[in-house]
Subunit: 306 residues, 2 copies
Amino acid sequence: MRVIPLGTSAGKATAERMTAAFAIQTAKQLLLLDCGEGTQHQMRRAALRPHRLSLVCISHLHGDHLHGLPALLGTLSLCNRQQPLTLIGPPGLATYLDTLRSLQVIYPDFPIHLHECGTQRTTPFTVGDLQLTALPLQHRIACFGFRITEHPCARLDAQRLQDSAVPHGPCRSRLRQGQDVNMPDGRILIANDFLRPIPSCSVTYCTDTAPCENTRILAQDADLLIHEATYANDAQEQAHQRGHSTVNDAARCARAAQVKRLLLTHFSPRYDDLSLLLAQARAVFPHTDLAEELQPIEVCSKQHSN
Amino acid sequence: MRVIPLGTSAGKATAERMTAAFAIQTAKQLLLLDCGEGTQHQMRRAALRPHRLSLVCISHLHGDHLHGLPALLGTLSLCNRQQPLTLIGPPGLATYLDTLRSLQVIYPDFPIHLHECGTQRTTPFTVGDLQLTALPLQHRIACFGFRITEHPCARLDAQRLQDSAVPHGPCRSRLRQGQDVNMPDGRILIANDFLRPIPSCSVTYCTDTAPCENTRILAQDADLLIHEATYANDAQEQAHQRGHSTVNDAARCARAAQVKRLLLTHFSPRYDDLSLLLAQARAVFPHTDLAEELQPIEVCSKQHSN
C-alpha cells in the first residue's frame, strides 16, 4: 500500500495545510479516508486519478472531514463516471447526501453504495481486495476509526519452480491461482508447495478521538497507524474535553498496539512549527513521523498502478 | 468598487481555474458573489480578509456555485466571528444550511441573516452602503442575477468652497452632511450649492442563464456586467438547452443594456485557450475582457480598505 496525506490540518486550512484527507493506493484500488475541502485539488496535485477511486470512508460529519465530498462527487459525475462508488461513514451521511441531491446541489449519475456504520462492533466490509473494519471512537459526535487490510495473497516461489522444472505458461498460471496441476510426465504439482504467502498489509486511521480502547483494537499490529495529534502534551485537558488526542495519546496507542509505524496528523492551526510535537511523540514511540501533505509513504512493497 | 474574480470555471475546476466566485470590495464592505469550492483559499491568495465579509450572494444551488460556502462559514466560526453575515440566495438555501447545521457539519456561532429570493420581481435589499436587486434568470433550477449599487453620495466642490471663503472645520463638515450653515457674517450657505454628486457605481452579475430579458434589466447602464459565457458561439443550441449563454449572448446583453464594460466568466473546462471567446465577444461589444482569477478590476475610483 501507498499512503498519500492530502490534508493534515484540524478544523480549518492554513496557508500550508489543508483539512483532513488521506489517499490510499493498493494493488488494485484507490481510496480516500476523509474528504476535507479541496481534496480533489490535492488529488490532482498528487497525480491521483479520481476515476480510479472505488471507496471513500468518512470518519464523521464535521465539515473539516467532509466539505470536499460533494465537489468530488460532482466532478466524478461531470467526468461521466459510470462505475459505482462505495461510501462508508457515520449515521447521517445518507441524510446529508439525500438533501444535497434533492436540492440539486449534486446530481451524480453513477451508483453510490452507501453504508452507514453502526455504533456497535460491526462485521468487516469487503471492497474488492480490501477488508475494512470500522469501530466507534470518542468524539463530540458519532465518529469512526477504520482499519484497512489487503486480503491475504501469495506469490510463486521462483526457486522452487526452477528446481521442479515447471515450464512457463499455463502450468504456472494455474499454480498461481491455487490449482494443483497434472503434468504430462505423470507428476502432480501441489499448488501450496509452490506458493509463498505475502503478509497482508494493514493501515489504521483514527481521527477525531480522545484516547479510547477502540483505537488500540483497530491498530493492533498494524503496519501503519495514522492517528490524530491535534495538540501538544501541555493541552491534554483541552484535547480530551473536545474529543481530541495529544501527541502523547497517539504515541501511547501506537506503543500499546505494537504497530510498526505511527504517522501523526490533524494538527491544530495554532502550531506553525510541529517539531515539538514530533519530539514529544518519539519520546514515547520512536517510529513516528509527521504526515507531510503530498509526500507518499510506502507501507508495503507491492506495485501500484493508480 | 473593486471586483476580484476568484473562480471562473463552469461545472468543475481545472488546473488553472476554480469554480464560480467573485469578491467585491466597496468603500466599507467586502462581499462575495457565489462561493465555489476553495473560495476561502482564493480569498487568502487575494489578501482578502474573511472577517471583513458582510454579504454573500448565491446565484443558485448547483454545487459549482455553492460548495465553498459551508467551509467558509466553518472558518469564520473558528475565527470567533461575532458580527452577523447576510446571505442572499435562492429558495432551498435555508433547507441546505439547516440540514448542515442539524447534522453538525457546520455550527456557526455568529448570526446569519438569510434572505431567500422570490421568483417575482423583488424590492431591493439594503446592506450597509449597498443596494442589491435580484431577478430570476433562466436556468435549469431557480437562479438569480444580482445588481449591486452603492448608495448615491456626494463630495464637496473645493473650488466653490474657496470662492466662497468657507473656512476649514465644522462649517465644511456640516455642508458635507447636507446641512445648510448660518455663517457669523450673516451669510447662509446652502449645502446643495457646494455638493457635487458622485455617480453611484453598479455591478451586475448574471450566471447561470440562457439569454433572457432580466439580464438586460439588471445590467441597464451598469458600470460592469459580469456575465457567463460558458460556450463559444458554435455551441449555441447546447448552451440554451442547458440554460447557459454563448459569448454572443453575453455580448448582445452588454450592448442592449449599454453597460460600460463586460467581463466574461464561467468558461466550460473544454476550452484551454479562451482567445476565441474573447474575439467573438469583442466583435459584438468591444469593451469586453475575460475574467482572470485574482486579477482585480477597478470599477470606480473610490478608496477601498478591505
